[in-house]
């Protein structure tokens, strides 16, 4: 680990530093209390409160007698059914010796004094009644439209309740369960009257249930989903206690200088501190997990009878192999944040976003349908989350787990290296170094600020999409396309006094580009729809959501031209100006063409604020950016975007849902690729000429 091979590692200077750091940590009672003692006490307190309030809720439910009234012409039928249902449920409860609270709670009591429907409904509104059972005669249409005529031939029992009142809702459920039980009992009675010779449990029923999973595997699969989430939480919270103190805190206290002027290598300094944060994070996570385990084991927290987690030595070893790189990764990130912060206060501001993002990845364990043997194995943190779940469920897929471990280790090594490189900088001492662009202002500053601006745009778009006044179709169009994506870039152009033609690539491309765009766009629509279908299999989206999405994009109450304007024309102008104009140019000046393409596409995908559109929008973003850079003109991308969205609208409007065959998809992709290749070829000489004409735009 340390550089001096000539000496034993425990005599290495970095190790001496690590020991000294640990010693200081243990001598700080406040930190020990906040990081270790407090959580150990709070967790059981939370569990206790939870079980107490559950008990209280149960008691309240048991003590409660819900009042209902029966009204309408079929009152007697309703009462009879309720009585039959209650009897049947009681019978079943005594047979199976069901204890505790069951679904038919609370107890019910009829309010004899209310018989008129109007009075009853008024009483319901005043919370004097919990449920009104409106027994309507045969022939009354139900609330759901699809009642067919033959179904209308029986009376209708309508359970009227208040959905905004917990007591009323639970009473309504109880009434419903009783009515259904009563109806079932009467059906059996009717069948028995005509000679039913077997109890229902013996007719076309489920016989034996063989569960191949052991209790341990079942609970492993259930609790394993959140296991890494909990571990990551404690790694972060525990690790941040030291991380905040170690670089950011040392800057504040002035002890960092003595380390930096010592003969300790930067590398050893950072490694020692990564080791420190890792150790502390792992230790705190371990203590907290054991703490939880203890409460479960001692039955202080009751997870039910079928809870049993068991770890084989092999699985425990795997667990270690998976979790240690995770801890190192998080430690490196924390240390990097700490090194970049000016003090502990600053650290906390920067810590929070990283914390949230990592937690989001760690929640991947809940994606139960996603197997580890997939692209998931390449996603740091998420792969460990799924891997640990599989381990706890008793499924040891050595190959996938090994791949996970390798990916995590590589990610951890990369993070440590990046931290090393970044903290090797003298910024560690002097605070944020600024360079010339900061003071030249204007155009020179723009590439540096462009991502910040787009982060701001994202926030506005995101908040707009969630907040009622803007969430409508018109509101979204006005806010996103006009205000943010058109107004924002124009504001940037003005503020930084940018050359409009240059920044927006505002010039005609070669004529040869146009046929390729005209052919490529339709091919791409087909190719994308094939891709979307394929992605839909990978990341399925609930039908309801697809429907809502389509409705939000294509409202029925607008004319075709309005929709085309809003979905095709406006985005082609404003989104291209925003993403392939200002953003692309800004990124390209600072990071080069490749990063600019991918970066602008990532931002483009993210502002569409939908997980399900992420991949297609990203690919389109890369395509548009590449075309723009290659042709040195924004116009082809605009045209392509216009055609793409326009065709999409026309297809969706016509109700035609293309199902693309594999061959069709391949052809579409090939055509699209050929068009791109054509654009590439037809512009090659021109790009070179441009480069010679304005060398600074290429070389930077």
């Amino acid at each position: 680990m340390f550089a001096d091979a000539s000496r034993s590692w425990w005599r290495a200077p970095g190790f001496a530093l690590l020991i000294a750091e640990l010693r200081q940590l243990l001598r700080d009672p406040r930190t020990v209390f906040a990081a270790l003692v407090l959580p150990t006490l709070v967790v059981p307190a939370l569990f206790w409160i939870q079980s107490w309030s559950l008990e209280q809720a149960e008691e309240r439910l048991e003590a409660r007698v819900a009042r209902y009234a029966v009204a309408g012409p079929e009152t007697e039928l309703a009462r009879a059914l309720l009585a039959a249902g209650t009897e049947r449920l009681e019978q079943r409860a005594s047979n199976e010796e069901v204890s505790g609270v069951d679904a038919s709670m609370p107890r019910l009591e009829e309010a004899q004094d209310v018989t008129a429907l109007g009075d009853a409904l008024a009483a319901l509104d005043d919370a004097a009644l919990d449920v009104v059972l409106n027994a309507l005669p045969a022939g009354t249409p139900g609330l759901e439209d699809d009642d067919i005529d033959s179904a209308l031939e029986v009376p209708l029992l309508r359970i009227v309740y208040r959905g905004d009142d917990e007591a009323s809702s639970s009473a309504a459920s109880a009434v419903r369960i009783r009515l259904e039980a009563g109806r079932a009992a009467r059906r059996v009675a009717a069948l028995e009257a005509v000679g039913l010779d077997l109890p229902l449990t013996d007719i076309v029923a489920v016989g034996e249930r063989h569960d191949l999973a052991t209790v341990a595997e079942r609970s492993g699969a259930l609790y394993g989903r959140g296991a890494v989430l909990v571990v990551v939480f404690f790694l972060f919270v525990g690790g941040s206690v030291v991380a905040a103190d170690t670089l950011a805190g040392e800057k504040e206290r002035g002890t960092l200088e003595s380390l930096l002027t010592s003969g300790l290598e930067r590398r050893q300094l950072v490694l020692a501190k990564v080791a420190l944060v890792t150790l502390v994070g792992l230790f705190i996570a371990l203590v907290q997990v054991l703490n939880l385990w203890l409460y479960v084991g001692l039955r202080l927290v009751d997870l039910g009878d079928d809870f049993a987690l068991r770890l084989t030595p092999g699985a425990a070893l795997w667990l270690l192999v998976l979790l240690v790189p995770l801890a190192v990764l998080i430690a490196a990130v924390l240390l990097w944040i700490s090194g970049r912060s000016t003090g502990t206060k600053d650290f906390q501001l920067r810590f929070f976003p990283a914390f949230l993002i990592t937690l989001a990845f760690a929640a991947a364990g809940f994606l139960t349908a996603l197997p580890l043997r997939s692209a998931l194995v390449l996603v740091p943190v998420a792969n460990v989350a799924v891997g640990v779940r599989e381990l706890l469920a008793g499924r040891i897929d050595a190959l996938a787990l090994a791949a996970t471990a390798v990916v995590s280790s590589v990610a951890a090594a990369f993070a440590v290296r990046a931290t090393l490189r970044d903290l090797g900088d003298e910024r560690l001492v002097t605070g944020a170094a600024r360079d010339h662009a900061d003071h030249a202002g204007g155009a020179a500053l723009f590439p540096r600020h462009v991502l910040r601006w787009y982060a701001g745009f994202w926030v506005v778009v995101f908040l707009g999409s969630t907040m009622a006044p803007f969430a409508s179709f018109g509101g979204q169009v006005a806010l996103n396309l006009v205000l943010v994506f058109l107004g924002g870039p124009l504001l940037i152009l003005r503020l930084y006094r940018l050359d409009v033609r240059q920044t927006l690539f505002w010039r005609p491309p070669r004529a040869a580009v146009w046929p390729a765009v005209a052919l490529g766009a339709p091919a791409m629509v087909v190719a994308m729809s094939a891709l979307t279908e394929w992605l839909g299999r990978l990341l399925p989206m609930p039908d309801a959501m697809i429907e809502m999405f389509t409705r939000s994009l294509l409202p029925d109450d607008l004319a075709l031209w309005q929709i085309l304007l809003a979905i095709a024309v406006l985005p082609a102008i404003s989104e291209e100006i925003a993403f392939r104009g200002v953003l692309l140019d800004g990124l390209r000046r600072r990071h080069g063409a490749f990063v600019a393409c991918v970066g602008s596409a990532v931002v483009f995908a993210l502002v569409h604020v939908s997980l399900f559109r992420l991949v297609p929008t990203f690919l389109l973003g890369v395509l548009f950016a590449a075309i723009t850079l290659r042709t040195r003109s924004l116009w082809p991308a605009m045209a392509w975007h216009l055609l793409n969205n326009g065709l999409f609208v026309m297809l969706a409007r016509s109700g035609f849902e293309p199902t693309v065959s594999v061959a069709g998809a391949v052809v579409a992709w090939l055509v699209a690729a050929a068009c791109v290749a054509w654009i590439w070829r037809s512009t090659s000489r021109r790009s070179v000429q441009d480069a010679q004409a304005s060398p600074d735009r290429i070389s930077r």
Binding site: D4, R7, R11, P13, G14, A16, L17, A20, R23, Q24, R27, D28, R253, G254, T255, E257, S258, L259, L260, T261, S262, G263, L264, E265, Q268, E426, V429, T430, A433, R434, D435, H436, D438, H439
Partner: protein
């Protein structure tokens, strides 16, 4: 073997003293939000020899700390280089740091370590041979009379005690070069005098000492050679006697004012000339 020098040093008699610190055209440019590009240090060159206290004298903000930080490799020079104990600060920063001890009033100690632990830690992380660490720490504790509180945590010590531990920390790995960056800022008279004694003792032990200060009397008493630094530039670099001969003034205060005022005058004139040229260019 003393606390001041762990290795016996023999001065090669008669010969020109060895150059231990050699700054050669050091420059450092910072970018500051308010002022833009600031050349904190411009083309600073000097040589400091073995067994010499080399003073860097300048007002606040003259570029002393930046120079010292470049010599101690905390900052990388924008231009120029420096060799400390024969090693370039650009090429092997770590070897440079191992051969120097850096002391400044703003450097703090770890509050939750004891004095002994602090000394051990800094001896070790500076690569001091580990079998000799204990003896070295004992020697330092004895020299600086840390013994009575060697096992107490730093946070419980008084500022005078901390001061002594801090100096001992700087010497923990027995470096041949010592940098004292404004060491007496905020010290009372007695502590400052004690510190000066330490510096003299170190000089006697053959160390090379770079001593930056804005206190003239201190420089006058302590330094063998003095470089006057002003607005990032070294104006002059000579022994005290040499400076007296050059200026004809006796007191360092007068010498200092002489150079600094000249420099300011020159700068003012240069600015005026440039403005005049620009105005002429505008009009013409």
């Amino acid at each position: 073997m003393t606390a001041m020098s762990d290795t016996a040093t023999t001065e090669p008699a008669g010969s020109e003293p060895e150059v231990v610190v050699h700054a050669d055209g050091l420059s450092k440019t910072f970018y500051d939000a308010g002022r833009g590009a600031v050349e904190a240090v411009r083309d600073v060159s000097f040589r400091a020899h073995r067994g010499e206290v080399f003073g860097l004298l300048g007002a606040n903000g003259a570029g002393k700390t930046t120079t010292m930080r470049m010599l101690s490799t905390v900052l990388t020079p924008s231009a120029g280089d420096a060799r400390v104990a024969g090693v370039s600060v650009r090429e092997d920063a770590r070897a440079v740091r191992r051969s120097l001890g850096f002391f400044s009033a703003s450097t703090a100690l770890y509050p939750r370590l004891t004095a002994r632990e602090t000394l051990e830690l800094f001896a070790r992380i500076n690569g001091f041979p580990s079998e000799r660490v204990a003896a070295r720490v004992d020697a330092l504790i004895e020299r600086f009379e840390i013994g009575p509180f060697a096992k107490a945590r730093i946070e419980t010590l008084s500022s005078g005690m901390k001061q002594r531990v801090s100096i001992a920390r700087t010497l923990a790995h027995d470096p041949p070069v010592l940098i004292f960056d404004e060491p007496t800022v905020g010290l009372d008279v007695l502590s400052a005098l004690a510190l000066q004694d330490v510096v003299r003792e170190l000089r006697a032990a053959g160390k090379t000492i770079l001593f930056s200060t804005h206190i003239l009397s201190e420089a006058e008493k302590l330094c063998d050679r003095i470089a006057i630094i002003h607005a990032g530039e070294v104006l002059v670099d000579d022994t005290l006697d040499g400076l007296r001969a050059r200026t004809g003034a006796h007191y360092l205060e007068d010498i200092f004012v002489h150079y600094v005022r000249d420099a300011d005058e020159g700068a003012r004139r240069a600015l005026e000339e440039r403005t005049a040229r620009e105005l002429a260019a505008l009009e013409g």
